[in-house]
């Protein structure tokens, strides 16, 4: 048991914070939210130069070859300043490739991701299927040496900012239990249509219609029919990392709130001297510290190759509730000024609610915890 970050990880965290405070700010968050893709190429290029995209990519594939805890440290810093989500989506692509064990794909894609020339995302959810592969309807039909994909994907993050997508489709349409396969599809493939979803927080999520999209068999990631295992393991890891992003966000909201409680005077005194306010802040700090421990526990277990499914779901259920809950308490403590869009708080409140729901809301993860408890 060693609950602290290593010296190297502390340095990574400090450098990331310094870098991001220079390169990214709330004005840019607002601009990115209004842009079509949400992507920021200037920031991207600098992140690439720092090696962030390749952080968990093996050195043999052009990456840095570090672990999940190192990556979580970066996610936390990114979460503090709400960087564009194309980073997270591309890392999810990296996780899928690594989980698939697909050597040719590793050689081909990972080095391009590490050098910043390839961005990816994962298209799994459908209008009537979110967590259960049995209900995926997108079909991949094999004819004349090619697969033809048809169906609709929903809530695909950062599709417009991506160059390539991994699409989950069923190669055996007759069976509900098997056949899910991941296909690599280039964004500009004929028949692929991307429509932005109108999200309340400006999250870049998309509907993707696949209308007889033709892809070669080589575009299959890993083993045909084995795609759901990869999806599940990828999403578990992405969930743990998203928790780290959320921890960063909620810690920032805590700081902003405590600062304002010190600065804001009513009745001739800082409102932070009132016990009602102090107790709200104390409760937030317990929830936030707990979120941090649950999250790093999950990430550290993954890093060591130990079972982490229950710990990941505990982390997501708790952290989702915490990030959201703290932003709502913060809105209450800030009062009018925090409600105004001139203030930055709502940027976090929106992201908090979006991250609470994406990759499974609390109830879904408590269901996973119950399964893991064996009841």
């Amino acid at each position: 048991m060693d609950l602290g970050l290593s010296q190297e990880q502390k340095m990574l965290s400090e450098e990331a914070r310094k870098f991001l405070s220079k390169e990214w700010n709330a004005t840019k968050v607002r601009e990115a939210a209004c842009s079509e893709t949400g992507h920021d190429q200037v920031l991207w290029d600098k992140m690439v130069a720092l090696g962030w995209l390749g952080i968990i990519i093996p050195e043999s594939c052009g990456g840095v070859g570090l672990g999940m805890v190192d990556l979580a440290v970066l996610y936390e810093e990114c979460g503090r300043v709400l960087i564009p989500t194309s980073f997270y989506s591309t890392i999810t692509g990296v996780l899928a490739i690594l989980q698939s064990g697909d050597e040719p794909r590793k050689q081909d894609s990972l080095s391009r991701i590490a050098d910043g020339s390839l961005r990816m995302t994962l298209a799994v959810s459908e209008p009537q299927a979110i967590h259960d592969p049995a209900f995926l309807q997108t079909a991949a039909v094999f004819e004349r040496g090619q697969y033809t994909l048809s169906g609709t994907k929903l809530f695909v993050p950062d599709a417009l900012a991506s160059d390539e997508l991994f699409v989950a489709a069923r190669i055996s349409p007759t069976s509900r239990l098997e056949g899910v396969t991941l296909f690599l599809v280039e964004k500009d493939t004929p028949g692929l249509q991307i429509t932005a979803l109108q999200t309340f927080g400006g999250e870049k999520q998309y509907e993707i219609r696949l209308d007889s999209v033709r892809v070669k068999p080589e575009s299959i990631l890993g083993t045909p029919g084995d795609g759901w295992t990869v999806v599940e393991e990828t999403l578990d890891r992405a969930t743990a990392l998203q928790c780290a992003e959320m921890v960063g966000g909620v810690e920032r909201v805590m700081e902003m709130t405590v600062q304002y409680m010190n600065d804001r005077y009513q009745f001739d005194r800082p409102i932070g001297s009132f016990q009602a306010v102090q107790h709200a802040c104390a409760d937030m700090s317990i929830e936030v510290d707990a979120a941090r421990e649950l999250t790093y526990q999950a990430v550290a277990l993954i890093d060591q190759g130990l079972p982490a499914k229950m710990e990941i779901s505990m982390a997501k259920a708790w952290t989702g509730e915490t990030y959201k809950g703290v932003t709502l308490t913060a809105h209450h403590l800030f009062g009018g000024i925090g409600f105004s869009r001139e203030h930055d708080l709502y940027l976090y409140s929106s992201r908090a609610k979006a991250t609470e729901l994406s990759l499974g809301p609390g109830d879904h993860h408590l269901g996973v915890v119950a399964d893991q408890l064996g009841i």
Partner: protein, 407 residues
């Protein structure tokens, strides 16, 4: 970074578990069941003595006092195992007095008291609260006046848990009336066989017994003032940090939850296994998540202490979370077992020996004892998050208002 135990820590846990399983007899378990908080039966007492003689208590002490300086993480593992094996709780002597004495006692005091404690010849009741000094503890009025080579103690303590069975008091007394109230308190060790001490037991809802204790011209040698004179408030804060950490020991909640989940998985009511009902699954999953938080906050403190860090904020956070979680666990659990929840632990129908109802009746003291959770929230906010102290703010305001007052 790693959150799992190292092989060495697992080895230590297994060794401790094996020893405990071998030495905690059915008789000990029965006595602990009878009096979970302060078992006084002969077997439980004999077991605690054996625990001390076998070195299991002192291995966490520094080497210079006969220990092996094992880490706080290991101590936490050990305390956890002790409870899981059905053993008696460690006393506040071990969990609060000893670590405080190690930090603040003079060398002579440590050399004198530590072996006595280890031999079971010094078992303490904690004498802080008074009828008019509860949450406002620094207002305590029991006084100790130096008379030659002795202090003469007069006053009254309350909520003096263990007072009816202890050999000594760890007593906070006012030694200086000329300074602000926080700065005139000292800590004394007072042997119970000194003339002038009277103890009156108070029975509590949670079956626990606490006491009032009266001190009438009780004389102790001046060497029994622990550490330095008038620094008692500081020492009490250290001792209370440790007390809070121990109030929040995880083992009991782990056992309670495991029993609850087993019961739900095995029990059929109205034709359905309880654990198959979605609402039951949901409640259990939520409790499991909170239990994990409790466990992590507990080990985080142990780990931070081992890193030499101060843990005042963390001890208060843990105490708040652990006590409120235990209340939710007991309350939720009693709802899950439905009508059976109302049975007293002595009923043959009470699921897992009525552990839930006993926890439910005992847990209020965990929320207000060792400093109310409101005081803990003040500590987290002010010492942890840096929010202003209301009393200082008000002092400033009063000065300002006085200055602005028309002449």
């Amino acid at each position: 970074m790693r959150y799992d135990f190292s092989e060495e820590q697992i080895g230590f846990r297994d060794e401790a578990r094996a020893w405990l399983q071998e030495n905690i007899s059915e008789e000990v378990k029965a006595e602990v069941e009878e009096e979970p908080m302060e078992p006084q039966g002969p077997h439980a007492k004999a077991f605690l003595k054996k625990l001390a003689e076998s070195g299991w208590l002192s291995i966490f002490w520094p080497r210079e006092y006969g220990g092996k300086g094992l880490s706080t993480v290991k101590q936490t593992i050990f305390i956890n195992e002790l409870r899981r094996c059905g053993g008696p709780p460690l006393t506040l002597t071990m969990t609060s007095v000893v670590p405080t004495l190690i930090r603040i006692g003079t060398e002579e005091q440590k050399e004198y008291w530590m072996p006595k404690i280890l031999r079971g010849e010094a078992e303490f009741a904690i004498g802080y609260s008074e009828p008019n000094a509860g949450t406002d503890l620094a207002s305590l009025q029991t006084k100790a006046v130096l008379d030659g080579d002795e202090y003469v103690i007069n006053g009254q303590k309350t909520w003096n848990t263990f007072g009816h069975v202890c050999t000594h008091q760890w007593l906070a007394c006012r030694t200086n009336f000329e300074v602000p109230k926080h700065k005139g308190i000292s800590i004394f060790i007072v042997p119970m066989d000194n003339p002038g001490i009277q103890v009156r037991p108070i029975e509590c809802w949670g079956d626990a017994i606490t006491n009032e204790a009266f001190f009438d011209n009780v004389r102790v040698p001046k060497e029994y003032l622990i550490g330095e004179r008038d620094r008692g408030w500081e020492y009490m804060r250290i001792a209370l940090d440790f007390e809070r950490i121990y109030i929040a020991a995880i083992g009991r909640n782990e056992m309670l939850f495991e029993n609850l989940i087993r019961y739900c998985a095995e029990t059929v009511i109205d034709g359905e296994v309880l654990a198959k009902k979605p609402i039951v699954r949901h409640r259990l999953a939520r409790l499991a998540t909170e239990l994990e938080v409790h466990r992590l906050l507990g080990y985080r403190i142990a780990w931070l202490i081992d890193q030499g860090q101060e843990v005042t904020k963390e001890a208060s956070q843990l105490k708040i979370f652990a006590s409120e979680f235990r209340q939710r666990l007991a309350d939720s659990g009693m709802q899950l077992i439905d009508m059976y929840g109302q049975l007293n632990w002595r009923s043959k129908w009470a699921p897992f020996k009525g552990e839930l109802e006993r926890a439910y009746r005992f847990v209020p003291v965990e929320k207000f004892g060792g400093g109310t959770n409101e005081i803990q929230r003040d500590i987290v906010a002010q010492r942890g998050l840096g929010l202003p102290r209301p009393d200082k703010v008000i002092m400033e305001l009063v000065k300002k208002w006085m200055a602005e007052r028309p002449q």
